[in-house]
């Protein structure tokens, strides 16, 4: 077939005005369909945060307290222990752990908005453990359902601004911006999401599909926690998960046990230095992100408490700097070795950065006790 037919009568290019109306209609219908499709498809099942929000939403009673943050939240804050301590202190609450491995600042901000859309009425307290910002996503995760999901327009614009604010060289800046824009485009177009559903329907035999469903249900137990409260200790993860998930966790445990002396000396050095005071200077976009998180939560009647988890590495410097500037309405620094010596006991730790189940119990109790103190100091009604 001839797609280009030269003719004598039409020697001049057609004006763009003949193309523009069609283009506008196309774009409108395209974007509308993308939006409707995203609504119909719901949260991506491949995202742990999505699965946790689904579970959170299913509870008719709702929750008073939620925890957002990376694995140091996911693996270390036990809502059962937290709730029990709060009840003993005369302030009964129900809490839920929304942490997910490697959850950074931008994903936390996204999760916050998703969370507030669900139960804005009952939620009163939100704990945020902010360690990293999500500006440099690992290549293999870049196009995953989880990463593309949090790249909505708002998060992407913020990400691009933060990348520009980093002041890195031109190539790195360009690559990072392209990565975020690509994730946003994938999110906008729901790229591959219907296909994923289709593949699940077509793969293997009926028996294979049933086995896959069973495996998904089993993995939900260790991903969402044995108590279905979003918390799964590292020991439980090793006990309940498949070999593929288990292997790196065991490897990390082994590496930690080999470096126990180094850990002890680092903890000791950090204790000598003492807590408080950060040499880190906040960038303008980081400041904006934190202020925005607080304002968004408070507008929905939710109080935010920022926390740094017990770590010998300087992971809490961002929050420490923000606290020094007075940006944080409440800040619990569990990275202070001198103040929380028990959390740095190697017997309570699973690996270099994470507490074991016994450590998580202590940490969750301490967290609740600090909240009780805070509530009392603010005069919150019992």
């Amino acid at each position: 077939m001839q797609f280009v037919v030269p003719s004598e009568s039409s020697g001049r290019d057609a004006p763009w005005t003949t193309v523009l109306p069609g283009l506008l209609v196309f774009l409108t219908c395209f974007l509308l369909t993308c939006f409707l499709l995203a609504q119909a498809l719901g949260r991506p099942s491949t995202s742990l945060l999505g699965a946790k929000l689904d579970l959170y939403e299913q509870d008719a009673q709702g929750y008073d307290v939620a925890f957002l943050g990376p694995s140091t939240t996911y693996r270390q804050i036990d809502p059962g222990v937290f709730d029990a301590t709060m009840a003993q202190g005369g302030r009964p609450v129900r809490s839920f752990n929304l942490g997910a491995p490697a959850m950074g600042g931008l994903e936390i901000r996204f999760a916050l908005s998703q969370l507030l859309e669900i139960h804005p009425g009952r939620l009163r307290w939100l704990f945020i453990d902010l360690r990293v910002l999500d500006l440099e996503v690992q290549k293999e995760n870049l196009l995953s359902g989880r990463v593309t999901w949090w790249h909505d327009l708002y998060a992407t614009i913020r990400a691009v601004r933060m990348v520009l604010d980093l002041g890195k060289d031109l190539k790195t800046t360009r690559d990072l911006i392209i990565d975020h824009l690509r994730s946003w485009a994938y999110n906008l177009t729901n790229l591959g999401r219907l296909r994923f559903v289709l593949e699940q329907r077509l793969a293997g035999t009926e028996a294979d599909r049933r086995a896959a469903e069973r495996a998904a249900a089993e993995s939900a137990v260790w991903e969402l926690g044995p108590a279905a409260d979003g918390f799964c200790s590292l020991e439980d993860a090793v006990r309940l998960s498949d070999e593929e998930t288990k292997a790196p966790l065991l490897e990390r445990r082994g590496a930690f046990l080999r470096r126990l002396d180094e850990f002890r000396s680092k903890a000791l050095a950090k204790a000598r230095r003492g807590g408080g005071g950060s040499r880190r200077v906040l960038r303008e976009t980081e400041r904006e992100l934190l202020v925005d998180m607080v304002a968004t939560a408070e507008a929905a009647g939710v109080s935010v408490v920022f926390i740094t988890s017990p770590d010998v590495d300087p992971m809490g410097e961002l929050l420490q700097a923000a606290a020094d500037e007075g940006l944080l309405p409440a800040f619990f620094d569990f990275g202070d070795v001198a103040a929380y010596r028990e959390l740095f006991d190697p017997d309570l730790r699973y690996d270099w950065n994470h507490l074991a189940a016994a450590g998580a119990e202590v940490y969750s109790r301490l967290l609740a006790e600090r909240l009780l103190t805070l509530m009392d100091s603010r005069g919150s009604p019992r």
Binding site: F3, V25, C34, T189, L191, L202, G204
Partner: protein, 462 residues
């Protein structure tokens, strides 16, 4: 960068917008040449040198042929093009194959060998653009085409990005005259182009890429599956191959059309072919006709005795097999064509006829066998698949999937609807704004159905 990637859509929107906004014909051609190099350089910037070398070689050969009428000198120029182009193709594509095959032969004879293979990467599209530049030199040498003095035009003919990496194999005689006249947007049949691009996208990104994991799993370990699975996997592979390659051609033709250039058709519903001869008039048409015009006819075609004709058919198809890849299973793919073509030739000459449906079915089954040779990693693996497919003999017990045959039947139905052109008139009659709205809705649905990680086109490896 490939057509089914999201970044290609952004690339093309930018190319398209700037192209039609540029005022002059020469500026537009320069723009197209520049973006074509960017497009190719997205794979490997260093390989741009190769395509530039190929361009310069045949441009110079063209000038040489233009400068002389003396047959001996003209033949020398032609020889230079043949040696340069085939030398480049031979080195990059066939060097290791011939060295390894030679070593294997010497070992078989009991002679000591130490094959010196090289770590060579196959430049994407080399088989396609080499044949294109060769056709230019041959046509100029034969006097069918006047060599161009414009390096810009010739470079654009070689590197025009829609057809650069996987065809259709465009002939200079068809394409270069189009470069003479300024292109007008009013000449472009935009709606058919947009539809064809969408059809190509569906074939590649929705159908082919969805089938690929199942086909890959089967061909990776055919003996693990039961014999019945081969009757799902092999037809699915034929569907994947067709959708992948014709999808690419569709998108190439549509993309070129939107820029004001016609490319030749490359597929015409090949699985409805009633004979092998008919099949090769419908499958990879630009290669079939290239082989016919530049190898089969110069060898003598069918003008001589039966024996000579058989020889010519055999040589042509063995070379076709080698064109597809440097391995013995590709040669085998070429080698199974001549017997079928020869039988069909004499069958037809004898005035014998098969009912159309039977012819279609037999041709399809024969091509299933041939395409297994193209897909398998080696001859032994091809034998395992064919044994399961034709003899129902497989030691495996795994069933590939109990719903996949419905996918194949669905695809066959869609193929038939397209073959009978049942929907094309409906699309053509649709009011402009309604078409734009429907296109927007479909585009959104298709992106959701496509793969986030775009798979490379199967024919890129050739």
């Amino acid at each position: 960068m490939i057509f089914s990637e999201l970044r290609f859509l952004f690339f093309f929107v930018a190319v398209f917008g700037v192209y039609w906004l540029l005022p002059g014909h020469r500026a537009r051609k320069l723009w197209l040449l520049g973006v074509s190099y960017v497009f190719y350089g997205a794979w490997n910037e260093k390989l741009l040198l190769l395509i530039v070398a190929s361009t310069v070689l045949d441009y110079v050969v063209g000038l040489g042929l233009l400068a002389t009428d003396e047959p001996r000198k003209r033949w020398r120029w032609m020889l230079l093009s043949l040696i340069g182009n085939l030398g480049m193709l031979g080195f990059f594509k066939y060097y290791n194959f011939f060295v390894e095959s030679g070593a294997a032969f010497l070992t078989w004879l009991g002679l000591p060998t130490s094959p010196a293979t090289l770590d060579i990467i196959l430049p994407v599209g080399i088989s396609f653009y080499t044949f294109q530049t060769l056709s230019y030199s041959i046509d100029c040498w034969r006097g069918n085409l006047k060599p161009t003095r414009s390096l810009l035009d010739f470079a654009l003919f070689v590197t025009f990005f829609p057809q650069l990496v996987a065809g259709p194999i465009v002939r200079a005689i068809d394409f270069m005259p189009q470069l003479d006249a300024p292109r007008c947007w009013a000449w472009v049949k935009a709606r058919p182009c947009l539809l064809l691009f969408m059809v190509g996208f569906i074939k590649k990104s929705v159908v082919s890429d969805s089938i690929a994991p199942f086909v890959d799993a089967y061909f990776a370990a055919p003996t693990a599956y039961d014999a019945l699975s081969s009757w799902v996997a092999v037809p699915l592979w034929t569907a994947q191959l067709y959708c992948d390659f014709s999808g690419y051609s569709d998108m190439a033709i549509a993309t070129a059309g939107l820029l004001g250039y016609n490319l030749c058709d490359n597929f015409a519903h090949p699985y409805f072919a009633a004979s092998i001869t008919d099949f090769w008039r419908r499958w990879h048409i630009s290669l079939s006709f290239w082989l016919r015009d530049y190898i089969y006819f110069p060898l003598g075609g069918s003008r001589g005795s039966n024996l000579l004709t058989w020889r010519n058919i055999t040589i042509t198809w063995l070379l076709s097999g080698l064109w597809h890849g440097a391995d013995w299973h590709y040669v085998a793919f070429g080698a199974v064509m001549p017997p079928a073509l020869i039988v069909h030739r004499h069958w037809t000459r004898a005035g014998l006829r098969l009912p159309a449906g039977v012819g279609v079915l037999l041709t399809y089954l024969y091509m299933c066998m041939a395409f297994v040779l193209l897909r398998a990693t080696n001859m032994a693996a091809a034998g395992e698949v064919l044994s399961a497919f034709f003899l129902f003999d497989s030691p495996g017990t795994v069933l590939i999937g109990d719903r996949l045959h419905w996918v194949f039947l669905g695809l066959a139905l869609v193929h038939w609807v397209a073959y009978r052109e049942l929907l094309s008139a409906w699309w053509a009659r649709m009011p402009r704004l309604l078409f734009a709205a429907a296109y927007g809705v479909l585009a959104a649905l298709l992106l959701a159905l496509s793969s986030p990680q775009a798979q490379p086109f199967v024919y890129f490896q050739f």
